[in-house]
């Protein structure tokens, strides 16, 4: 079985495990909905400011929900003592990284797919456009690329759930700013060509951090 076959095997294992426990998706989804509802109450009577603040609310929600999800990416492996089983498999560390990143990406996209229509309904802003879906997908790829690396790094520390946000948030700021600005432009009716520069920033971030994560994951995962 080649690279992608092994990657899919890891993602399959994580998906089955998640389907049984719903540990990540249920907690992240509840958190996401709660944040959206609270912000909706906060800005509910002030519809004029919504187009200006909606991108920030949307991405703040996704960032913190994503961190909750990424925090759980390697912790079950560590807690159950399975990480050692995984690293003794005859596969490159890149396979493990890509498999874990793929399953995290899947869980985050599911949560986002549920959250976007609810956000659209409660805030009455058109976030279900193709442009915003593309922005969400490419930003989530970069977010997960960095998050998987730092999640693996954090599991070997004592205060692992505190370490991830401290290390991770400063790194993802550029991509989140890019996503917020691109979402804001989309909501003001900007065309695809007007979003090009923000797309370039987000895609460049994705590529850089995918390569960096590939190259450094071996040092992070092995004690």
């Amino acid at each position: 079985m080649k690279f992608w076959g092994k990657v899919m095997t890891i993602a399959w294992k994580d998906t089955i495990s998640e389907l049984r426990t719903k540990e990540i998706t249920s907690s992240v989804l509840v958190f996401t909905l709660l944040v959206i509802v609270i912000f909706n109450f906060a800005f509910g009577t002030n519809r004029e400011v919504l187009p200006a603040v909606a991108p920030g609310i949307l991405w703040t929600t996704f960032v913190f929900a994503g961190m909750l999800s990424l925090n759980r990416s390697f912790i079950p492996e560590k807690e159950q003592g399975c990480l050692e089983g995984l690293v003794t498999c005859p596969v490159s560390r890149e396979v493990i990284y890509t498999g874990k990143a793929l399953s995290s990406l899947l869980f985050m996209l599911i949560v986002e797919a549920i959250a976007l229509p609810i956000f659209s309904l409660l805030f009455n802003v058109p976030v279900l456009s193709l442009q915003i879906i593309v922005i969400t997908v490419i930003t989530t790829i970069g977010f997960v690329a960095v998050g998987t690396l730092f999640s693996a790094l954090a599991i070997n520390t004592k205060a692992r759930e505190m370490v991830l946000p401290i290390l991770f948030l400063p790194i993802v700021i550029p991509i989140i700013i890019g996503a917020v600005k691109a979402t804001e432009l989309t909501l003001t009716g900007e065309s695809w060509s007007g979003l090009t520069s923000w797309f370039q920033i987000i895609i460049a971030f994705d590529m850089i951090f995918l390569v960096v994560s590939f190259l450094t994951f071996d040092f992070v995962i092995v004690e």
């Binding site: 076959g5 049984r20 426990t21 089983g85 690293v87 498999c89 004690e223």
Partner: protein, 237 residues
């Protein structure tokens, strides 16, 4: 012929603490080596380094002449590991766990191989139960099946009897030869001296990260081994 496992000048430090201090070890193919030592002697660290779970601080390790650093994937394919941790996913069934590891190790005719092994370890009836619902002893049986799944030529056993019932303990020792009857190379760490003297062809005592005593089976009886253990672990620096 290259030795199955060759370790030269192996050290491992955790911060300022030296867990292994220059281990030199050569094990011929098909031989079994038992390592005794008090808690904190470095037994588990040594096994974890050999299993590629942990990087050494310095030293050279080769398996059949292949350097661990440059041929890690190929070497992992030859190793089966049983530790006091089962390395199983609690939320998957025993079958799903074996299927997962089988796919990762590219085991041919995987379904047939899983059936063979679960029958061997006496877990056929609980094969489709989630690991979290199995007793510790049953989990360890599945763990033994997992370690043997890809027909490894080298077995690394780190206190493998932990949690196993008396009936299941022979499962480990009966499977030290592979299916063709060829002896596997085995490194076992244990506190159980009776078991160690029974299965090991070479007996080592590790203390404070160093091999402080070594002999071959037959050189000592159990009383002699206990005496050697007491003397070596008391006098080592």
């Amino acid at each position: 012929m290259n030795p199955a496992i060759k370790v030269q000048g192996l050290t491992k430090s955790f911060g300022t603490r030296l867990a292994l201090r220059g281990i030199d070890l050569e094990i011929e193919s098909g031989k079994s080596v038992v390592i005794f030592g008090p808690n904190g002697a470095g037994k588990t660290t040594l096994i974890r380094i050999l299993a590629t779970i942990m990087n050494p601080s310095s030293g050279i390790i080769t398996f059949d002449g292949l350097n661990l650093k440059s041929h890690a994937e190929e070497i992992r394919r030859r190793i089966g590991i049983v530790t006091h941790q089962t390395l199983l996913y609690n939320n998957l069934t025993a079958y799903e766990n074996l299927e997962f590891y089988g796919r990762m190790f590219d085991v041919p005719e995987l379904k047939k191989r899983i059936q063979e092994l679960v029958s061997l370890v006496g877990m056929t009836a609980r094969l489709h139960d989630r690991v979290a619902t199995l007793s510790r002893g049953m989990q360890q049986r599945v763990s033994i099946a997992r370690a043997l799944l890809h027909k490894p030529t080298i077995l690394l056993l780190d206190e493998p009897e932990t949690g196993l019932d008396q009936e299941a303990i022979p499962l480990i020792w009966d499977n030290m030869p592979d299916e063709t009857g060829r002896k596997r190379t085995v490194i076992l760490t244990t506190h159980n001296m009776e078991r160690g003297i029974e299965v090991g062809e070479r007996l080592l005592i590790l203390d404070k990260g160093k091999i402080v005593y070594e002999c071959v089976r037959g050189a000592l009886d159990i009383a002699g081994l206990k005496e050697a253990y007491r003397n070596s672990t008391r006098t080592s620096v």
